[in-house]
Amino acid sequence: MPANTEIIASVTPIIERWKDEEGPLLPILNGILRELGYVPREAIPVIADALNLTRADVYGVVSFYHDYRQEPPGRHVLKLCRAEACQALGGEAVAEKLQKLLGVRFGETSIDGSVTLEPVYCLGLCACGPSAMLDGEVIGRLDDDKVAEIAAEVRS
């Protein structure tokens, strides 16, 4: 985990970029998420100070949105769609298989730090499900082969 000063050094330019815009908090948090992969607790007072908010205000926003992880993720982030259109195509079986192959449950990071598995409710790929997103890349029509490929890729 990066030290406090490193975190502040990486979030400061993001805050500077957005603080004078209308509604700057989400763009700042999104920027931090992109940069660090999570929103560290240490960033919260820095943001609060810059936007003239309380730390509770900022923490309230961080904790509201599913995207804002508060712990560093694994080297890979796998999001699997769990919504109805993917359910209709056997998404539940894919979810079971992936959890078993990766040795993690939804919301967890594997012990070796290779992968974080997260649920997502719709990637808009509903005519080519079951679908997933691996490190930002979309994958459709998941079957046993593709699931095995994903598992091999995150382990390598």
Binding site: L26, Y68, Y121, G124, A127, C128, G140
Partner: protein
């Protein structure tokens, strides 16, 4: 002459391997020393044929699909041989003549899959900006009247007349007004917003500029869900091009009107698709639903008058201003005017986007256009309108696709997504999921939604375990009633639709377990 080859940049096509095909194509072009250009277009929305590759020939475009990287050399070989070879197995002929496309009425999606999404020249060459040019010659009142007369209703799901919303903002006083585009397309089974943002972003930009001129707003925001990173890239590219061309900025196409816009990303909260929660989120707060009134038209973003419209509503405006209100209004039925991009999803053979005038029956859509299930098993249920939409059984397949007709059957069109399930579906599980989803996504502001959904999951779990089943069913119905009438917004208010429709139309799935097992 440079050969133009089209491969979609649409995320659906990418999920099925379009990028790999494009890479193979690039290598093949280089290896053969061809004079060819790869254009990354949007998708035409025939997802069982994606990745679909199109080659421009003197006789028009020819489509091939679904293409794997290994098919690329033989397709090029075929094209260059200029006859003599037997037809290629993936040759689909002229894309416009594919029955699935030929049967559609493409107004909003006319250019999607046809043009280079980030080429303003392409956009103009295919009829783009004509609506805006007409609007620039009109008064704001005239523009609003045109949109009102077209009969356009909010395509996000609520179906509120767009023109009336605009009129309210036009008449509201404020130092700064805003156009906010709701691109938080969170409903499972829907992807029309994504497709248009990735395939024809200028039509959305043009629609927002027209809205700005109509109501006196100079700033716009597109609130885009974070699950759509490819749409973000395409939109920002298009906005950059639009600024450079003077379409956005202090003087729109040299006129006295200023308009500029920004894309803002959400952070994975379904409830932010609700317009007031979206505004709170855009302001940088938790996405909590606001009580109405005051309406966003009066007290919207940062407390100022705001038009908040869905992507498809705004993207339908240019054609209305181009061809006139009467042209658009002439499509459709009853009070549902114009066209609607129907999205066929889930376990369906021909999944994709089908834009048509309102009025097709559900059966025509699911069986006729969708071709039944992908698994080949019988269709048992279809959910229309996302996670808050009702499940329809085959018995209701004669329902026409129309806001009022669906409401009369205790359902809703929503954002026009249709998710097909075959006969392996367990409707008790689907009802439980509806409650669970509501519990996960509730903003927590009102009790019926926050607590009701959690209790709903527990009660349905007890039902599944056959603990006093009759009693549980009664509790669920009572809970649904409370949620429907006591919730602040559609999340808690509409979750009863999937739950109650499942119980009403598929009662056999809600019988006690021993009975269910014996029946199997």
């Amino acid at each position: 002459m440079t050969l133009k080859i089209y491969i979609p940049r649409d995320s659906g096509a990418i999920a099925l391997g379009a990028n790999e095909v494009a890479r193979a194509l690039k290598a093949e072009i280089a290896a053969r020393g061809l004079d060819a250009r790869i254009i990354r277009n949007g998708s035409r929305g025939l997802y069982w044929l994606e990745p679909m590759m199109e080659l421009e020939t003197p006789a028009g475009r020819v489509a091939f699909g679904p293409v794997k990287p290994s098919d690329v050399p033989s397709i090029l070989e075929h094209h260059l041989s200029s006859g003599g070879l037997p037809p290629h197995s993936l040759d689909l002929g002229r894309p416009e003549e594919l029955p699935y496309l030929a049967r559609q009425t493409r107004l909003t999606f006319a250019r999607c899959g046809v043009i280079d999404p980030v080429s303003l020249e392409d956009y103009e060459a295919h009829g783009g900006l004509r609506g805006l040019r007409n609007a620039l010659a009109m008064t704001p009142e005239q523009i609003v009247a045109e949109v009102t007369e077209s009969g356009l209703r909010g395509r996000g799901g609520a179906g509120f007349p767009t023109g009336i919303k605009w009129k309210t903002v036009l008449e509201a006083a404020g130092p700064q007004k805003y156009i906010v585009c709701n691109a938080d397309e969170g409903d499972s089974g829907t992807f029309a917003d994504r497709m248009i943002m990735e395939g024809d972003p200028f039509v959305l930009i043009e629609g927002m500029i027209i809205a700005g001129i109509a109501v006196g707003a100079t700033k716009g925001y597109i609130y885009l869900r974070s699950e759509y990173p490819h749409a973000e890239v395409t939109l920002n590219e298009a906005i950059g091009v639009a600024r450079k061309a003077g379409l956005l900025g202090p003087s729109v196409l040299g006129s006295r009107y200023a308009f500029d816009l920004q894309v803002r990303m959400g952070a994975g909260a379904y409830v932010c698709g609700e317009e007031t929660a979206l505004l709170d989120s855009l302001e940088g707060k938790r996405g909590m639903v606001r009580a109405k009134p005051p309406l966003p038209a009066h007290v919207g973003f940062l407390g100022r008058p705001t038009v908040i419209n869905n992507v498809i509503s705004l993207a339908s405006v240019p054609i209305i201003l181009d061809r006139g209100a009467a042209f658009y209004r002439d499509f459709g039925m009853g009070r549902s005017r114009g066209t609607i991009p129907i999205q066929l999803a889930g376990n369906v053979k021909y999944g994709g986007l089908f834009e048509a005038a309102f009025g097709l029956t559900l059966g025509e859509i699911v069986d006729g256009i969708g071709g039944g299930t992908a698994s080949g098993r019988p269709v048992r249920a279809v959910q229309v309108g996302g996670p808050l939409g009702a499940y329809f059984p085959r018995e209701l397949f004669d329902t026409p696709f129309d806001y009022e007709a669906f409401a009369a059957k205790d359902g809703l069109i929503g954002h026009a997504g249709i998710v097909v399930f075959d006969d392996t579906v367990d409707m008790l599980k689907q009802a439980r999921f509806a409650m669970e989803f509501c519990a996960v996504e509730s903003c927590g502001k009102c009790t019926p939604c926050r607590i009701g959904s959690t209790r709903g999951v527990e009660v349905l779990d007890r039902l599944a375990q056959s603990i006093e089943p009759e009693r549980q069913l009664e509790i669920v119905k009572d809970l649904c009633n409370t949620m429907k009438f006591g919730s602040l917004c559609a999340l808690g208010g509409f979750t009863p639709y999937p739950v109650m429709s499942a119980i009403t139309h598929f009662p056999e799935d809600f019988r006690p377990a021993p009975v269910r097992q014996a029946a199997e």
